[in-house]
Symmetry: C2
Subunit: 160 residues, 2 copies
């Protein structure tokens, strides 16, 4: 059950400037914290390769978000997490159009999670589900394409 | 009109490992390119502050994605872009629950775009709309919360 009287807001703000051929310098603020980030494209895409492309940051953000919540929520839910690895595969499609160069759409995002934990599989699954619901990025994604999560067990991968 | 016979796939893969208190080391691969990224949390959230938090990377990724497409599509659509700034505000809410610590949800994402361009406002608006449709991250977001875009004009901000 949700307790909306204790809801909290989270606001991230960015100030971004296009520089160079395809590089973007992006200052991100969260409260009093400030982070200097950048994106670029490789030479094939007209950039100088001075920073990762936006989708590389996105891939890291999604993996990092769910992993952070698995560890943070593990403490709160008393599910011990001694180690954690996540393999991520993000698949998009681009389709050329007569109006613009192309339109893009997500095909599917898959996260394969390996937990080192003495907890039972049911507890590990419950932790991953809670972390998914608490992951700000996952909850911002469309439900029109699959975001799948699998957990590694001694009997192989299971869907979460 | 979409030409599905010329559709192309885009796949980003990540291999992430939890290290330190809350840090995640994330190797991202795109074709033969490889990027070493990381996330962490500040001391207040139990981390060591060795890298930006996941949502800072997400903010930069979203801003960088739309900016990259505005410049790339500008060339293709013959809309000259001499300068480009984007101010981003991403707002989420967390609501405590009895089951997990809390559940999260997006409230609204706002992008304020300043283009330095000799093109007319109609052309600038058309470019931004095309870039939005071509932005892999924006197209992955849920339509259940507003993602707004405004363009700066000499008469003030207009909705795109």
């Amino acid at each position: 059950m949700a307790d909306s009287s204790k809801a909290f807001d989270l606001v991230f703000e960015g100030e971004a400037t296009a520089v160079g051929k395809m590089r973007n310098d992006i200052k991100v603020r969260w409260g009093s914290d400030e982070f200097d980030l950048a994106t670029d494209e490789g030479g094939f895409h007209g950039g100088d390769g001075t920073a990762p492309p936006p989708l590389a940051l996105f891939t890291a953000a999604l993996a990092g978000c769910i992993m952070t919540q698995i560890r943070a929520f593990g403490k709160r839910l008393k599910v011990q997490v001694d180690g954690l690895d996540v393999a991520t595969r993000l698949h998009w499609k681009g389709t050329p159009t007569t109006a613009g160069p192309y339109e893009s759409e997500p095909v599917g995002f898959n996260l394969d999670i390996t937990l080192d934990s003495p907890a039972g599989i049911d507890e590990q699954v419950a932790l991953i589900r809670a972390a998914t619901k608490g992951c700000f990025i996952e909850q911002s994604l469309s439900d029109k394409f699959p975001v799948t999560h699998r957990l590694k067990t001694t009997d192989g991968w299971i869907d979460v």
